[in-house]
């Protein structure tokens, strides 16, 4: 059995703090430009100054500040997308799994449709239709998530349906709705939570990919994905612009996953199948 992943928890906590206390922590505004100070390296490199600990980007914006505010945006995106997409998935999964029959068939075909339809393209279409922005991004990423959530949750529910307490509830004459809410839902919440943690990474990566394709959060608002994407052209002469946010993404996703795995082993060995 794994021991508690303290390091991961530490990392996650730090990033949460960054997100919540951004205005207090950030030395500068994330969007103020000082064009004269553009592309300064981090302080430990020659040419770097203690003024900008992690250096500056092409607009002379402080990377540290952008990183801190970026944490906020990125986590908000993750939060919303997981609530929306995960929520819908949870709902559909439970309904389909529990009611079964024609409802299940139809919902599951819908899920299949979602899998055939290139989510990233959907995101693109949305972005060009509704214009780039938080809303678009969240919807797009939710569309990317709900189907897989629905599939897995449904599987869980199918298993639960066979359990005595459900049968008992039926015997006691509980309404379907009541059973779903009071018996099924609480029992799939573990699975749900684990899925959520394991998908935070997916969301953040998706956000990055969409920024790369020009369908993410529009500049100048900082998000980690956007920062990596903006800096990609400069890996040669200013690697820090994209590497630093890149590392931030990686370490967060890494921590969240390790935490998620641990949670999974703790809560729900059954979920390993998925």
């Amino acid at each position: 059995m794994r021991s508690m992943p303290w390091l991961s928890i530490l990392v996650i906590a730090t990033m949460l703090c960054m997100a919540i206390l951004a205005p207090l922590l950030a030395p500068y505004s994330p969007i103020d430009q000082t064009l004269r100070d553009k592309l300064l390296p981090p302080f430990w490199l020659e040419g770097g100054s203690s003024k900008y600990i992690l250096g500056t980007d092409a607009f002379g914006r402080d990377i540290l500040s952008r990183l801190i505010y970026g944490a906020r945006v990125s986590l908000i995106v993750a939060g919303l997308a997981l609530t929306v997409g995960g929520g819908v998935g949870l709902l559909i999964g439970i309904v389909a799994g529990y009611l079964g029959g024609i409802v299940e068939t139809m919902l599951m075909r819908l899920v299949d449709a979602a899998f055939t339809f290139p989510a990233i393209l959907f995101a693109l279409l949305l972005a060009v239709t509704m214009g780039q922005g938080l809303g678009t991004l969240v919807i797009a990423i939710s569309l990317l998530l709900w189907a897989s959530f629905a599939r897995i949750i449904r599987g869980e529910v199918l298993a639960l349906k066979q359990r005595e307490f459900v049968a008992l509830a039926k015997v006691r004459g509980c309404s379907e709705l009541r059973i779903m809410l009071t018996h099924i839902l609480p029992n799939v919440l573990n699975t749900f939570m684990v899925l959520v943690t394991l998908n935070i990474g997916v969301v953040i990566i998706a956000e990055a990919a969409l920024s790369f394709l020009g369908a993410g959060i529009p500049p100048p608002t900082p998000t980690w994905g956007l920062m990596v994407s903006e800096g990609r052209g400069r890996i040669a002469e200013a690697w820090w612009v994209s590497l630093i946010p890149g590392l931030a993404i990686t370490s967060l996703v890494l921590s969240v996953n390790l935490f998620g795995d641990w949670l999974r082993d703790r809560l729900d060995p059954r979920l390993r199948q998925q």
Binding site: R2, A113, F115, F122, L125, T129, A209, I235, A236
Partner: protein, 305 residues
């Protein structure tokens, strides 16, 4: 079996119509190819002319009816930009993507599955942890960034490999790695977890009781079972590859369908866009069907009905 396939095909058809409709209207919502084809200083008259020339006049409904009608006849229209049948355009690009995918899958399987097995066998030990961490790294690195870094390191700095574009074997290395990394990680994690379940199972105990050698127990009795859930994800994975190749194809200037789709969106090439989505959907549906059939073969308990 036959009945199963027939039913699946029927469902597939319904699904296609659904997808087609969504693309049609969603596409139309995103604006108008004419504006993108005209220079920014074109006159209203030039617009009118071009709209007519492209056959974009007439109400949405009429256009939609025409589209569905032709689609059922197997004609998915003509690319607005390239003035060629959209299907031809797609088919001319498809092979380029399809030559990439098997290698990515191969990489993922050759690296991911054994790594997963090894991790499972050493559960909780350092080997497991490292493998797991590597896997998450694979998942946690944005593929476009990975691609660009790879180019920078292996072509610009070391000069070992070409920066991209299709070509001889050496041209495949970086794109395949970029495309395969995520997959490898996915396979590895999945194999590990299902392997863990299998290792605890009674029939593995029995196999050991028989006194079978450890390698037979693991690579024959365990793996075959462990691969079942892996296989289920195959369909999804390959689907993702076909569509998700957009980023890789962009970075490595790989003239595949992912890139084509992206351009179809950006330039509002509606017929092409519709064709691409529909054909991809068909492709993915077929793959899923095949996977299910394979599935039934690997796992005798599954009956196709």
């Amino acid at each position: 079996m036959g009945g199963f396939i027939a039913r699946r095909l029927l469902q597939g058809l319904v699904l296609l119509v659904l997808v087609a409709t969504v693309v049609f209207f969603l596409g139309r919502l995103t604006g108008n190819p004419v504006d993108l084809m005209l220079p920014e200083d074109a006159t209203a008259e030039d617009r009118a002319h071009l709209i007519k020339a492209l056959g974009l006049d007439g109400s949405l409904i009429t256009q939609y009816r025409a589209f569905i009608g032709n689609a059922l006849k197997g004609d998915l229209g003509t690319s607005l930009r390239m003035r060629q049948p959209a299907v031809d355009v797609f088919l001319s690009r498809l092979p380029n993507t399809l030559v990439l995918i098997p290698w990515a899958l191969l990489l993922a399987m050759l690296v991911g599955i054994p790594l997963g097995v090894v991790a499972a066998l050493n559960r909780g030990r350092i080997l497991d942890r490292t493998a797991g961490t590597i896997a998450v790294l694979g998942i946690a690195t944005p593929s476009f960034w990975l691609g660009i870094v790879l180019i920078f390191v292996f072509s610009v700095e070391l000069g070992w490999l070409p920066s991209g574009r299709m070509g001889g074997p050496e041209h495949f290395v970086l794109p395949v790695i970029t495309l395969g990394t995520f997959l490898t990680a996915g396979f590895m994690r999945l194999t590990r977890s299902s392997m863990l379940d299998v290792l605890e199972s009674e029939y593995v105990k029995l196999a050991r009781i028989k006194g079978l050698s450890e390698s037979v127990v693991i690579w024959k009795h365990c793996l075959r079972n462990a691969l079942i859930p892996v296989l289920t994800l195959w369909g999804v994975f390959v689907g993702n590859l076909i569509t998700g190749a957009i980023v890789t194809e962009t970075v490595f200037a790989w003239p595949g369908v992912g890139r084509l789709t992206y351009e179809a969106v950006i330039y509002r090439d509606f017929p092409l866009l519709q064709a691409v989505i529909i054909l991809k959907a068909i492709l993915i549906l077929t793959i899923n069907l095949v996977v299910d059939i394979l599935y039934a073969y690997v796992d005798p308990r599954i009956r196709l009905s």
